[in-house]
Point group: C2
Chain length 397, copies 2
Amino acid sequence: MAPPIPQERAAIDTIVATYRTRGDAARAAEVARFVAYEQTVELPPALITDPHLLAHIVGRVLAIEPDAQVQDSQRFRIAYNAELASRSLAQLLNLVYGNVSMYPALRLVGLELPDSVLRAFAGPRYGVAGVRRLLGVYGRPLLSTALKPRGVPLDRLAQLAYDFALGGGDVVKDDQNLVDQDFDAFRFRVERCAAAVARANQSTGRNCLYFPHLAARHEELERHAEFVHGLGLRGVLLCPMILGLDGARALAARHDLVFMAHPTLTGVYVHGEEHGIANHLLLGTFWRLAGADVAVFCAPGGRFAYTESECRAIARALTEPLGTLAPALPCPGGGMQFAEIGSIAARYGADSMLLAGGSMQQQAASFVAATRAFLVRLSADCEVRLTEPDRAWRALR
Amino acid sequence: MAPPIPQERAAIDTIVATYRTRGDAARAAEVARFVAYEQTVELPPALITDPHLLAHIVGRVLAIEPDAQVQDSQRFRIAYNAELASRSLAQLLNLVYGNVSMYPALRLVGLELPDSVLRAFAGPRYGVAGVRRLLGVYGRPLLSTALKPRGVPLDRLAQLAYDFALGGGDVVKDDQNLVDQDFDAFRFRVERCAAAVARANQSTGRNCLYFPHLAARHEELERHAEFVHGLGLRGVLLCPMILGLDGARALAARHDLVFMAHPTLTGVYVHGEEHGIANHLLLGTFWRLAGADVAVFCAPGGRFAYTESECRAIARALTEPLGTLAPALPCPGGGMQFAEIGSIAARYGADSMLLAGGSMQQQAASFVAATRAFLVRLSADCEVRLTEPDRAWRALR
């Protein structure tokens, strides 16, 4: 039984969260009531008699219906007073899935945010348009790669970066496993890779971007970010679930840098149909609220088992209207094969970025040639509109 | 087939992670090899031929054996070069379960850390002994409660805090849902509750502690922490998985405050037997590395479905020898019933803290009386050694 709802409740600005749970409608109604109390007052319903709490604080169960995607499951929607999110990304996450993450067979599958909440977030600083402006590349998907593995000589990493830029690649980022022992090691490595990309850019007349991975101890993150910015680099790779979602947002907000988000550790959140947070909400909506300009996720056909519909939903959440927040670039990666590049590019459209690492290193004898081959394949199914820098570079070949 | 291991490998300091996966030994061997490469070089094995990478960077599969706890499952151990953790808690988490969190049916169930890694972490600043010293309470489990719900008048929260302290309670903390709109609201609320506890302490001669919840936007956390410290309060409640594990560690490291850790959002990590991170590693080992002095977890019999053996494992991980890190206080909570308090206290021993919220508010007409009743029940099965402040307070009654 849902709690009594006095009439003035209609005037409250609400966050509507949709959950999936196992079982029939009667069980779902019990679970829904549990969630509505647990995530707000966290006291047994019998203790909540104050009309103000019932009207303004306890979540309101809106609807329960069979889940169309998962058998023997129901979906229910709960409206939370938007003020309970305290205009904070950390608290929003805590409000919609904090304690109930410890409840079995309950998954957050939908999230509708009112303007009063959305206004608290700047969102992507660059977004699709800003990243394109920096690159001067339009009309085709962007190509990115990862510098790896950790443990090879710096020369080798710098050479990879150089070759990728020379081959016409757009964004070269550090691998999320590429983490240094201290600031000096980071500085030395980043300087070398940045110089290699700059040298290649001089040859091509293009503007390939290099994004180092910011992964220092919390106390050192600021110094690393300032160094990257001071070096004239335009972006960084961040791992939001390692840094903490709101920590990543704040770090990106403090620095004029493109924020490319990596999905490491997201598997604990999104794994399975029965529990956790839907992929498109975490890597789509939450990351976009955190300010991610580029969101890396694992494409179907790679070495992680995500479905095509999950990935499409992530791409949609990154690009669909969301208050005044800029759209972010969907960036499928995670072991795509060369033969699939064209179809993946076609699927996500021109406004996407593809991340190819190992498959490019495997593809051809030279990384320059591999990059070129990937770019050709990438553009094949898309209408390509060349810009001036692109034209100049093609003429150069 | 495991990668070839040159002999010098034996000399490397290693982190040994144990994983559980589904299926037979042959499948487990494949998965183990996948993990060993994915978490280190993140390139297909065919591309890794450099003897240095094979000897020093790629993880080494140590053993594969049937899992004793879960049917049709295997356990395997991987030794990682300890340097790959970069003396960072964030990177340690990334190393042992970052990308592979996106792999199905793989759970991190064990973690052995060498001294070279443990030395990078200060661990609990107070630990069991330090919290007892602050309280002046020895020889019995400690009792804590949560101020809630959000939305009631401040008077009501302050009264709860006062009553709990007057009833002889040890630690009153904010609920993890008790989050304020801004600094002024936080300051006003915390001052009121702190004053209420101080007034009760004057009556009792005891030293009940009040821990506010630090949950502001990332940019404001420092100011909130400084305010709490400036007010003379001795501890805070932090939600490590909301703040980010290393962010929580750094915040606690910067301030001389007891760090009580709340399990909100941990469900995504620990849920289920097949995926994620074992409860005792996340809420035990990782939280202790982050410096948690008190670790709240959901006890069996409450409203979340954790098993007794899981909870015992958490308590063990919090208190067993771990380098030179102080033991932390296990703090079962999450809807324990009054009748079970004695047996729970007996199970976790004197060096634990029990968290009772709703069940105490339900227990008796007066919160003072409820606190006293819980304390009596709590001490019943333990050998109680009264200290001077305790004696004075008992005499006062």
